[in-house]
Symmetry: C2
């Protein structure tokens, strides 16, 4: 039941490790929404700080991460993405992050947060969660008439209660369809996130070295030719070929132009498929969209197909610490 998450309130710590919050009304609406859902919400002292386009200078944002780690909250949720984590990846106190995760904290975010998630996986092997940000997830509303998405909120609640065990979705017409229903991957590391942010870590110590994994990808505002160029880089760098599956989420917010003359995202999927034998699944409900699932980056997952329907399971394989706050 919404608004009732057990005898002890689950808690959310809101902080801003990336871009400055631009829409403070959405921020406040998001905090109110989380409170309505029954969570105890704590807002970081610098959550609304601004330094040029960033939520405070690099030192400020690093201190915010440290405070999030020390907060003891069940979830540390970013206010928004943008750009900023890349700059400070070499200065994050990964031992503090790992200690917080081992103590039961779930770090949740999206977009620029892929930099943090990838670096945490690369540096500590720990699990973080790809999911909403406060403003775009819980803060929608007002003039646009949107309300927070049910599926996203349910997944968030499942995470809080340690009840989430997987996600299922239907691939679109361009989905991967083997001749028979099949298990694509078993005990494979789930990783990925925003394609642009992930690719921008390639060649650095913050790019996870995952073999036999399930790589999920989404992006926003990137033309298909740019998506293709990035996927081709991951392909030629040997990253795609080492995975058990590539799972494409939502690619949104780009604009095709007359010059494209039929070049579109479906052509990009075809291009990648002609260059790798790794299954490329489509239409994962994750990305810069309202309806999205939460995904454990760095966790072991199983991936199975039944016709167009894909199922991703992780409940069995998550460390106990990720289920229950001590």
């Amino acid at each position: 039941m919404r608004g009732d998450n057990g005898p002890v309130k689950k808690s959310v710590y809101i902080y801003s490790p990336s871009g400055a919050v631009q829409d403070k009304v959405a921020f406040k609406r998001g905090v109110r929404r989380l409170t309505q859902l029954g969570y105890a919400v704590e807002v970081d002292a610098d959550a609304l700080t601004r330094f040029t386009r960033f939520a405070g200078d690099d030192d400020t944002r690093l201190r915010s991460i440290t405070r999030a780690c020390a907060s003891g909250a069940d979830v540390a949720l970013i206010s928004r993405g943008g750009y900023g984590l890349t700059r400070i990846l070499d200065r994050i106190a990964y031992a503090e992050v790992a200690h917080a995760i081992d103590g039961g904290m779930h770090f949740v975010g999206i977009s620029d947060f892929t930099a943090f998630q990838s670096a945490v996986l690369a540096q500590t092997g720990r699990c973080t969660w790809a999911g909403p940000a406060l403003c775009e997830g819980f803060g929608v509303g007002g003039a646009d008439g949107l309300v927070p998405d049910d599926i996203m909120e349910d997944c968030f609640q499942d995470l809080m209660l340690g009840q989430g065990e997987g996600a299922g979705w239907r691939q679109d017409a361009s989905g991967y369809l083997p001749a028979d229903d099949t298990a694509i991957a078993t005990d494979a590391i789930l990783w990925g996130g925003n394609l642009t942010v992930l690719t921008s870590l390639l060649g650095t110590p913050f790019f996870p070295q995952v073999d036999g994994g399930v790589l999920f990808l989404e992006d926003v505002g990137e033309h298909p030719y740019r998506v293709e160029r990035m996927l081709t880089q991951l392909l030629r760098a040997g990253v795609l070929g080492r995975q058990r599956a590539i799972v494409l989420g939502q690619f949104t917010g780009y604009r095709l132009v007359g010059h494209d003359r039929g070049f579109k995202m479906a052509r990009v999927v075809e291009w990648i498929r002609t260059h790798t034998t790794v299954p490329v699944l489509t239409n994962l409900p994750y990305g810069h969209v309202q309806t999205k699932v939460l995904l454990p980056v760095g966790a072991q997952v199983d991936l199975a197909l039944s016709g167009r329907d894909a199922m991703l399971f992780w409940g069995h394989a998550l460390p106990d610490a990720a289920h229950e706050h001590p």
Copy 2:
């Protein structure tokens, strides 16, 4: 003297290895201009072909490159950039390209052509030229009243006559200013080009492995935060720190937004300088601008500074084959 390049006409082969030509009027104007300058111009059979956004499908564009190699022209000049070379880097006949270069051919281009230039350097060690494309360089005019840039055309003529020996320019206020006039680099490999295209090759076999080089970079339509993210990737991948100098060309065509609040390209230059001791020079007249020099990618160069004035020399170090068509 313009229009008189010696007893035997120098020749230019026009081909389209990347995006489809969108402005055929500019294309024709460019061919006319090169003819007026006294060059014999040959146009590839598929120079104006289109397949979706590309100048023909991958096979077509590969054949165009092969025909350019076999043309015997003094210069093989791309019609335009766009996107397309990345797709075919693994299928280019590098031995043919190397043979053509050894025979005296100069491959000239910009933007997407950086993929070709980097791959040729990585795979063969041969020298190609960063310079204009036909349409944007020689094809300007018409309603916009532009004429081809004098400096660009002079540099092109110098290349044709084997007379180019270097380029000098004045850094802007954010330039690198050592305490004393100094030689920054001697016998260093010059490489680089478009930052986005170059970075998209990182981790692949087509990214040149250059130590102690002079890395020049330009870009168009990339917000400073994206430029910073790419430079930070090259930095963390160890690429910047291995160079003798980083030379920033023109970064144009992006749009700052209100949210930036003072974050701009100058901040990016500062950011990189705080993270490397390698000199970062500015304002190289190269990029998506009319006034630009031609630069030998893969050649050995000397780089010297006198106050704000920078000088790049390559004449002494170019192989003879690059000077004279046998």
